[in-house]
Each structure stands twice: as structure tokens, then as C-alpha cells.
């Protein structure tokens, strides 16, 4: 964790400085006289993060090296992140260009497939069951539209 603490602390301090000197001035207008500036709270928070981030990096650097230079994220975890992101990207694309129904099917079936489900009946039954249940609840029982 030592390596990760150094890098994440330093990285967050940099992000905070970036927000402080670039994002806040361009995204928050200054207020007329006599008001508490709308920039005040965001600026305070970013100054705090910049200091704490640096402190965290410094403290971690001072600790004796633990010989554990590996990232706290394992390969499998990154792979899972990538797979599920892909499923979400596909579902969103289908939502925008095809239909919400297609997006729902893609999301559930896609997630099942990337997580290693290989039984066809399950890949068909689960999206069908969930979508039917949601459709029945909203469109029939409640009489409202979801999309």
C-alpha cells in the first residue's frame, strides 16, 4: 500500500491544484461585493485536499518500504471493470440509438455472459423475467410510463 499511498496522495494534490487554479476560476463566476463568494467553499476544500494529499504522500514515503510495490488493484479486478464498462457502453449505445428495451436486455444478458454464465436458458430467462416484471409493475399495476 506504501507505493499506492505515495502516488494517490500526490495525484490528488495535483488534481486539487488543477481544480483550484483552472476549473474553479472558469466554472464559478465571482460574486458582487457584499456576498460570501460562491468560490469560497470549493476553494477551501481543494486547499485542504492539496495539503492532505501532500501530507499523505510524505507520510507514506517516510514509512519503511514494505517491499510491496504492487498496485492494490489486481489484474482480475481491472479485467472485471473493463468487462462491465463494456457492457454499460453497449447498453447505453443501444438505449440512445435503438430502444430502452434493447438496452435492458443487453445490460442483463451482457453482464451474465462476461461474468461467465454459459447456460443459454439462464441468459434468456433472466433478462426476460426481470424486464417483464418491471414492465408489468410500471405499465400495468401503476399505469405510469417509465420511458
Amino acid at each position: 500500500m506504501r507505493q499506492a499511498d505515495i502516488w494517490s496522495g500526490a495525484g490528488l494534490a495535483l488534481v486539487a491544484l488543477l481544480v483550484l487554479f483552472v476549473v474553479i476560476p472558469t466554472q464559478i463566476e465571482s460574486a458582487p461585493d457584499g456576498y460570501v463568494s460562491p468560490r469560497l467553499v470549493p476553494q477551501m476544500m481543494m486547499v485542504l485536499v492539496a495539503c492532505l494529499g501532500a501530507l499523505q504522500a510524505y507520510n507514506a514515503w517516510r514509512r519503511t518500504p514494505d517491499g510491496d510495490g504492487s498496485l492494490p488493484v489486481t489484474r482480475e479486478e481491472l479485467l472485471a471493470l473493463a468487462k462491465i464498462s463494456g457492457v454499460f457502453a453497449l447498453a447505453l449505445a443501444l438505449y440512445l440509438w435503438l430502444s430502452p428495451l434493447a438496452a435492458g436486455i443487453a445490460l442483463i444478458a451482457g453482464a451474465l455472459i462476461v461474468l461467465g454464465e454459459r447456460r443459454i436458458w439462464m441468459i434468456v430467462a433472466m433478462p426476460a423475467g426481470l424486464l417483464l416484471a418491471v414492465w408489468y409493475l410500471f405499465y400495468h399495476v401503476l399505469g405510469t410510463a417509465l420511458v
Binding site: 494517490s8 466554472q27 464559478i28 467553499v41 492532505l52 489486481t74 471493470l81 468487462k83 461474468l115
Partner: protein, 514 residues
């Protein structure tokens, strides 16, 4: 009092009881399903308030509110995905308990704490609504500002291994909460020109992304290990692991009592909400404990503290509604329309003009507590089976429900984008051990603190000397100073210990708990 007794006469009939039960069940199930919760319950309830007869509609609405507050503990304990942000502290100890094979024990404690908190708070509502509401009016922005400041000192206890990281996460929580149009100057902040962000980042999609979706992705990455752990772990090997023992009851009852009171107080105060209640209760319990470092590894008291306060907020938030006509929560706002159709206009006149109908309402509230206990108890055996279902089947379903839950609040795909952004943030926060609980506290308390601070400056005419007219706030400011002093003094040693611990490689099993 006699109205309350005859109220029971009116409520204890099959039709009304049926609708209370429907409401409680619906709320409990929605709360237990990750991604869905109070927001969904509200959307479901609104059409019904127009088509159902008024008594049943009100009873059902109350049931949904109470049920979802209790149900959200189920997914927090079993899957580490709190159904609502207010159950995030429940997961801190509930999930480790479930992983130790004590899921049933944790679920039971969660339910009992919920029901007791709920019942106590309902009794407070019935007995003390009018006097408490008028006291609550004495708490103006100046006092609230000081109270919020004090409650921030609880962040320390909730930051996990490292106070520095906890504070960083909290600061980011405050930053994200400033997005949107600022209330005093009406200048948009950090909206990048997006109209969708004018009203700020909505808590629901943010919390769903950070708490549920991110957790699901982490679990997907450790699927094999977790599934293997689940099969090895024979749930309820011994009876001890399934029930709450007498010793545990003795340890938890004071915790539940404190949680119920904290939850009730938070519910009465304007604009704080259930999350603040459960965070404060958890933080206070941990601070009062003799072994604070054990929290987060499966302390049953943690579950009791969070859940009792979480549920106590719900009836207490009706106090300002009944006594003054001011809706303290979304559920309360919707309740107004149902009450109005019923011929009851919430407010002080309600007690003089319609005492019988108020009695009916109180009877329905008490019945809902009891029904919650019954339904929760029956449902738990079923829900506890979830832990045996392999994750590859759970995760797709949860992801789908999360999308529905995020989408429903605003009916726009923008909420899904928000959810995904916070999923990424939440994912890396987990992996780099930044506490998402302090992030949430910052997000929930930050904007209230800023607003009340701005209000205080105007109300005090810009002079600190005017604080003498606000004794309550002076007390809380002093408390804050003393607490911060104590933390600073006791902290140097604790930090060294914590960082030494963080530096060591942790056993694989513990890493999975996060």
C-alpha cells in the same frame, strides 16, 4: 388518548391492515433490492394516493416509508450494497458479519433495531409532537450551523484506517455537493454549462453508483474467491450464529436507545435526513465504545446503531408535518396530498378539528411498526438464501435494478451517466482505501453547513458578537472545539498505530471486506 384507542378500532380491520401490510412489504422489498429504495417507493406510491381510498393510501405510504428504511439493511448486510445511503454504516459491520457466516444474526439485529427505533420514534411523535415541534423552531440557521459543525467531528471515527484519507474523501464530498446553482447569489457552480446540474448532483444516482455498482464491480473482480468462501461457509453452523444472544442484547440495547434518540432528533430538525441520523449514531457508538478499533470488522453494535437511527428518522420527520404543517421529508410532502384528500390539512388545527382522524393515523403508524417486525422476520429466511446464489447471477440483476433506480428519479439518461461517473470514483476509492462513508457525510452535511453559514452571517448582521443571542449555538461551538482538541491530542498515537497497520500487508480475507 381515547381517540388513539378508538383509532385502533378503526384501523384493525382486514382492509386497512391489508394495505399497511402491502405498503410495508413493498417498502421492505424495494429497500432490500439494491438500487431501489425510498425514491422508487415514492414514485410507486404517488399514483396510488389518487386511486386508493384515503385511509388505506395513508397507511400504505407510511408502510412504504418504514419498510424501505428497514429493508435497506438487508442488501447492506448480505451484499455490501446499501439499498439507501442511510444504510451505508450498516454495511460497515453487517457485511463482515455475513462473511463470517453470521448473516442471520446481523439481519435479525438490523430488523430488531429498526423496529425498536421506529417504535420509539413513533411514540415520541404521538406523545410529544406539539411541544417538540415548537422547540425545533427555536433551532434556527445559526444553531443548526453550530450543530452541523459539531457533527462533522464524527468524521474522524468513520474514516477507516487513515484519518488523512478520510478527510480527503470528506472534502471531495463537500466539493461535489457545491455543484449547481448557489442559493444566495444564484451563480451556477461547476455545472460546465449543463442544465441537468443546475439543481446539483442528485444523491440517489450518486449513492447508487458509489455504493452499489462500484461494489458489484469489485465483487466481480473477486468473484471466484467470494463464491468459494460462500460455499465453504455453512450459514448458521451453530445456533449462536443465527440468533441474537442475551449478551449481545445487553450490549446493544443502550446502543439502540441512543440510536433511536439521535434518529428522532435528526428527524425533527429541518433538512438533515436519514443519512445524517445513521452516520451520527454509528459515529457516537464507536466513540463511546471501549474498543473503537474493532468497528468495521463485524461488531453487532454497529448494525444496531445505524439501523435504529435510520428508522427512527422516519416517524420523527412527521413531527414538523403534523405539528406545523412543514414537510420534513419527501415522504412527508407526498403524505400531505393524501392527508388533504382525507380531509386532514396537516398543521396545528388538525388536532383540534379532527382528533379522531389523527387517532386513526397514529394507530396505523403503530400497527405498521408491528407488521414490519412480522414481515421482516418472515422475509429474512428468504433473503438470507441470497448469500448462496453465485455472484455471476446476482451482479447482472443488481446492475439492472441500479439503472432503473437511478433513472426513475429524473426520468432522464443523464442520471445514468452520473451513476457511472460515481461508480468509477467509488471503485477507485475502494481500491485505494478512501472512505466513501466520509465522502457521503461531506456530501450530505456540506451544503447544509454552507447554507446555514450564509444564513447566519445575514442573521447575525455580520457581527460575531451577536452570537450571544444564540446560546444553543455557543454550546455546540464549544463542544466542537473541545472534541477537536481531544481528537488532536489522542490522535498522534492512534495515527502512528493505524499507519503502521496500513503499512503491513493485510490478510487476503480482510481485504475482501474493504
Amino acid at each position: 388518548m381515547e381517540y388513539l384507542i378508538s383509532g385502533f378500532g378503526h384501523v384493525l380491520n382486514p382492509v386497512t391492515l391489508f394495505w399497511i401490510a402491502v405498503g410495508v412489504t413493498l417498502g421492505y422489498v424495494l429497500g432490500a433490492l439494491p438500487g431501489l429504495g425510498k425514491a422508487t417507493g415514492v414514485a410507486v406510491a404517488i399514483p396510488l394516493t389518487f386511486y386508493l381510498d384515503p385511509v388505506s393510501a395513508i397507511a400504505m405510504l407510511i408502510g412504504i416509508a418504514k419498510g424501505s428504511a428497514a429493508g435497506s439493511a438487508v442488501s447492506a448486510i448480505l451484499l455490501n450494497t446499501p439499498g439507501e445511503p442511510s444504510s451505508a454504516p450498516t454495511a460497515l459491520d453487517g457485511y463482515p458479519l455475513a462473511r463470517q457466516g453470521k448473516a442471520q444474526k446481523a439481519l435479525k439485529m438490523g430488523l430488531f433495531a429498526s423496529v425498536i427505533g421506529d417504535f420509539v420514534s413513533t411514540l415520541i411523535l404521538i406523545g410529544l409532537a406539539a411541544p417538540l415541534a415548537s422547540y425545533a423552531l427555536l433551532i434556527g440557521p445559526v444553531e443548526l450551523c453550530a450543530i452541523l459543525l459539531f457533527s462533522l467531528t464524527f468524521i474522524g471515527g468513520l474514516s477507516g484506517n487513515s484519518l488523512t484519507k478520510g478527510l480527503i474523501a470528506g472534502a471531495f464530498g463537500v466539493l461535489f455537493a457545491t455543484v449547481g446553482i448557489e442559493t444566495e447569489t444564484f451563480i451556477p457552480r461547476l455545472t460546465f454549462g449543463l442544465l441537468e446540474l443546475d439543481e446539483g448532483i442528485s444523491l440517489v444516482p450518486m449513492a447508487i453508483g458509489m455504493l452499489a455498482v462500484a461494489e458489484m464491480i469489485v465483487q466481480a473482480g473477486n468473484m471466484r474467491a467470494l463464491d468459494q468462501q460462500s460455499t465453504e461457509m455453512r450459514d448458521g453452523k451453530s445456533r449462536e450464529d443465527r440468533v441474537v444472544t442475551g449478551a449481545e442484547w445487553r450490549r446493544c440495547l443502550p446502543v439502540i436507545a441512543r440510536g433511536s434518540l439521535i434518529g428522532s432528533a435528526v428527524g425533527i430538525l429541518p433538512g438533515l435526513g436519514a443519512s445524517v441520523g445513521s452516520f451520527l449514531s454509528y459515529g457516537a457508538t464507536q466513540r463511546a465504545s471501549r474498543t473503537p478499533e474493532k468497528y468495521g470488522t463485524g461488531m453487532i453494535e454497529g448494525v444496531a446503531a445505524a439501523e435504529s437511527a435510520d428508522n427512527a428518522v422516519v416517524p420523527a420527520s412527521l413531527i414538523p408535518l403534523f405539528a406545523l404543517g412543514i414537510p420534513g421529508s419527501v415522504i412527508a410532502a407526498i403524505l400531505i396530498s393524501a392527508l388533504v384528500l382525507h380531509g386532514l390539512t396537516p398543521g396545528p388545527l388538525m388536532f383540534q378539528q379532527q382528533p379522531q382522524k389523527v387517532g386513526d393515523l397514529y394507530a396505523a403508524l403503530l400497527c405498521a411498526s408491528v407488521i414490519l417486525l412480522a414481515i421482516g422476520y418472515a422475509g429474512q429466511r428468504l433473503f438470507a438464501l441470497v448469500i448462496r446464489v453465485p455472484l455471476r447471477l446476482i451482479i447482472p440483476g443488481v446492475l439492472f435494478l441500479c439503472c432503473i433506480g437511478a433513472y426513475m428519479e429524473t426520468s432522464s439518461v443523464f442520471s445514468i451517466y452520473l451513476m457511472l461517473v460515481f461508480t468509477l470514483i467509488g471503485y477507485f476509492m475502494r481500491k485505494f482505501e478512501y472512505s466513501f462513508v466520509t465522502f457521503l457525510i461531506g456530501f450530505v452535511i456540506g451544503p447544509n453547513l454552507e447554507l446555514t453559514f450564509r444564513q447566519s452571517i445575514q442573521l447575525l448582521d455580520g457581527k460575531a458578537a451577536n452570537l450571544v443571542h444564540h446560546p444553543i449555538s455557543i454550546v455546540f461551538i464549544l463542544l466542537t472545539v473541545v472534541t477537536v482538541g481531544l481528537i488532536a491530542r489522542g490522535n498522534s498515537r492512534a495515527t502512528q498505530r493505524a499507519e503502521a497497520r496500513a503499512g503491513m500487508e493485510k490478510p487476503k480475507e480482510e481485504q475482501l471486506h474493504i
